[in-house]
């Protein structure tokens, strides 16, 4: 939509047919004006990034898969000393995810993760939309508003966990204001509520900002036309604003969901590790690796990775979230292609 903000190609001017630089004669390949030099240069420029990513993402992923097939067991080594021996156990670590004590913890963590993700993302989206609608109408103090809305976003999650733990102390400000005596930071539903409140506080402004940006590129004429046609505020919201911010909102919701699925810092600092009612998959995997049970920790991490991947794929394939801006890229190459054809035509008319 706003992708066409780049200036239209000026190649059509009669005086500049040389835009295809004479030094590198462009071969018109099967897909656009690609030159062999460009491909080589791209490979050269991209390879450091891809190499580092392979090192910090692909290698750990493969190592985790490998590790998840092993299990450390205490045994006697060759000299008769007690030692940890790693033995290949196949898919046993994965089978254990659904039975016994490990299974109970895993399913509990899976449930918590899903619960937190759904509730926080839902509340954030609703609240973020309201924030964006309110900000879109504010003309005075907009920059001050924008600065203050960035504060929750900028507060480190660990600090926000600490901050909310202080607010939710048994004799803290939350209980004073509510006149209640809830033990927010112990186990139970109150601690879940505390996590949700703290998470929504921190992230709703982020969604609000993204949605606001989406709203601000809707031309005013559309609303004027709707007004002339007699559409009320709700009708405008439902028929213009929401459909037009939907692509933005979809991307924002996807990012928030993926972030919420790997939630770790907040429950870790706010409630603490090893609390059943708030333990997420990330916390469980961390706890396992802390106990040096790398095999099951890796299995948990892999399951979380698969979970995240499935959610991302559903969003991109089924709901059509345009995350990479692929449409935009196509537009660019199309633009340069038309430019090239124009150049050719100009050369032909000479």
């Amino acid at each position: 939509m706003t992708t066409t903000t780049t200036a239209p190609p000026a190649g059509a001017q009669p005086g500049t047919p040389q835009t295809a630089s004479p030094a590198s004669p462009r071969k018109r390949g099967h897909r656009g004006n690609r030159t062999p030099g460009e491909g080589r240069m791209a490979a050269l420029l991209l390879s450091p990034t891809l190499l580092v990513l392979a090192l910090v993402i692909v290698y750990p992923l493969l190592a985790a898969v490998h590790q998840s097939l092993y299990r450390a067991e205490s045994g006697l080594d060759a000299d008769g000393f007690v030692a940890d021996v790693e033995s290949f156990v196949g898919l046993a670590n994965y089978a254990d995810l659904f039975v016994g004590e490990t299974g109970r913890r895993f399913l509990n963590a899976l449930g918590n993760t899903t619960f937190f993700t759904l509730t926080t993302v839902f509340l954030e989206t609703v609240l973020g939309l309201c924030l964006a609608l309110a900000m879109n109408r504010a003309f005075r103090g907009r920059s001050f508003l924008r600065a203050s809305i960035l504060v929750p976003w900028a507060v480190p999650t660990a600090v926000s966990g600490l901050l909310w733990r202080w607010i939710f102390q048994s004799d803290g400000i939350a209980n004073t204001l509510l006149g209640s005596e809830i033990l927010w930071t112990a186990e139970g539903n109150a601690s879940r509520a505390a996590i949700i409140i703290a998470e929504v506080w921190k992230t709703a402004p982020f969604i609000g900002l993204l949605v606001l940006a989406g709203m601000q590129v809707i031309p005013g004429e559309v609303y004027e036309a709707a007004k002339i046609d007699g559409a009320g505020w709700w009708r405008q919201l439902g028929s213009i604003t929401l459909p037009l911010v939907k692509p933005t909102l979809l991307v924002a919701v996807l990012f928030r969901m993926l972030d919420a699925l790997r939630m770790f810092d907040l429950p870790f600092v706010l409630i603490g590790p090893g609390k059943e009612s708030v333990e997420t998959l990330s916390m469980l995997a961390w706890d396992e690796s802390n106990q040096l049970r790398y095999g099951s920790a890796s299995a948990f991490a892999i399951m979380l990775f698969l979970y995240v991947a499935v959610v991302a794929i559903v969003f991109v394939k089924v709901l059509g979230a345009d995350v990479t801006g692929a449409k935009e890229l196509k537009l660019i190459s199309k633009k340069s292609r038309t430019k090239a054809t124009r150049t050719q035509k100009a050369e032909a008319t000479r």
């Binding site: 791209a42 450091p48 990034t49 590790q67 660990a158 993204l210 005013g220 870790f268 692929a326 890229l329």
Partner: protein, 317 residues
């Protein structure tokens, strides 16, 4: 530049469209409790501006109240930490003095955070600028695939990196070193940088570089002398965002480090324990939290426009 121009234009037209008082229901944007208005337009207008201000005040309170409470609590004395007054009754810097008294090594932790976040940002930008140039300016096969892969890596759950690397770094003897935090941090910093820079560079017009190449510049010279200066604001914004993300990083630093001399500030404050076992040192924790957050808040205040632009550039197309 062009993007912000267009946005401003759209903003203005949107503003004029919205302010052209017309529909009765329009004021419901902020104050939904508003009854359907049948009064004179003038009266309706004042009511609406009030409702807008109420809405704004609510947003301010929502965003700033928890942070304000942290600030106020940090300025109380330990004895009145449980006071509920809106201002610290006897104003005291006692907590700040305690945070820096040496036993907690909090100053060292701040320095560590600066080193780790700074190095991560520099590396991510260095790699990101070249990758973003290739993606936004060059034509090559598998371009969307590569960008897709880079963005997909940013969705990677941190724990799936931490568990295997913890093992590897233990074997390498990297536990309690800076590189044990910097290298894993690149896994989220690089995708962030590449993506942001790509969006910025795509928004810059091709024509200037083309003109430079017509004038005899090579592609590399056009990149270095024309595109890079133009993209400098984008690079700067990306640097801020990457720095904030790395500064706020927690799980990697928590897992890779157990030596208080190397740990970063976010981990250090989460491990603050007081002299007594029964009472957590909330005042000190709040003071430390304020210290960790204030640099970010100052950055946010100064560069808010850029940060918002950077945050929203990728998502709103």
């Amino acid at each position: 530049m062009t993007i912000s121009d267009l946005r401003n234009a759209a903003k203005d037209s949107g503003a004029s469209g919205a302010s052209g008082a017309g529909t009765p229901g329009a004021s419901a944007a902020v104050g939904r409790s508003g009854k359907p208005k049948t009064g004179k337009p003038k009266k309706q207008r004042t009511w609406r501006s009030y409702s807008v201000y109420v809405g704004l005040a609510l947003i301010f309170a929502y965003c700033l109240a928890p942070f304000y409470w942290m600030l106020v609590s940090s300025l109380r004395r330990t004895a009145d930490i449980f006071d509920n007054t809106l201002l610290p009754a006897p104003f005291s810097l006692e907590n700040y003095a305690k945070v820096f008294d040496g036993s907690t090594m909090f100053g060292q932790a701040l320095l560590n955070s600066l080193i780790v976040a700074g190095t991560t940002t520099v590396f991510a930008l260095l790699l990101g600028v070249f990758a973003a140039y290739a993606i936004s300016r060059l034509n090559f096969r598998f371009k969307s695939v590569i960008l897709g892969v880079i963005i997909a890596t940013s969705m990677f759950p941190g724990i799936a990196v931490v568990v295997p690397l913890l093992r590897l770094f233990t074997d390498l003897g990297w536990i309690n070193t800076y590189q044990a935090m910097i290298v894993p941090s690149l896994s989220f910093a690089i995708p962030l940088a590449v993506w942001n820079l790509t969006t910025f560079m795509k928004a810059l017009p091709f024509d200037l570089e083309e003109a430079a190449m017509i004038d005899g510049c090579t592609k590399w010279q056009a990149f270095r002398r024309v595109l890079l200066p133009l993209a400098a604001p984008g690079v700067f914004t990306t640097a801020i965002l990457t720095f904030i993300h790395s500064w706020n990083e927690f799980i990697i630093a928590l897992s890779m480090i157990n030596d208080p001399r190397i740990q970063t500030a976010t981990v250090a404050i989460s491990k603050f324990t007081g002299a007594t076992e029964f009472q957590a040192p909330f005042g000190e924790q709040m003071a430390a939290g304020v210290i960790v957050t204030v640099p970010l808040v100052i950055m946010v205040l100064i560069f808010q426009r850029r940060i918002v632009e950077g945050l929203t550039a990728g998502a709103s197309k």
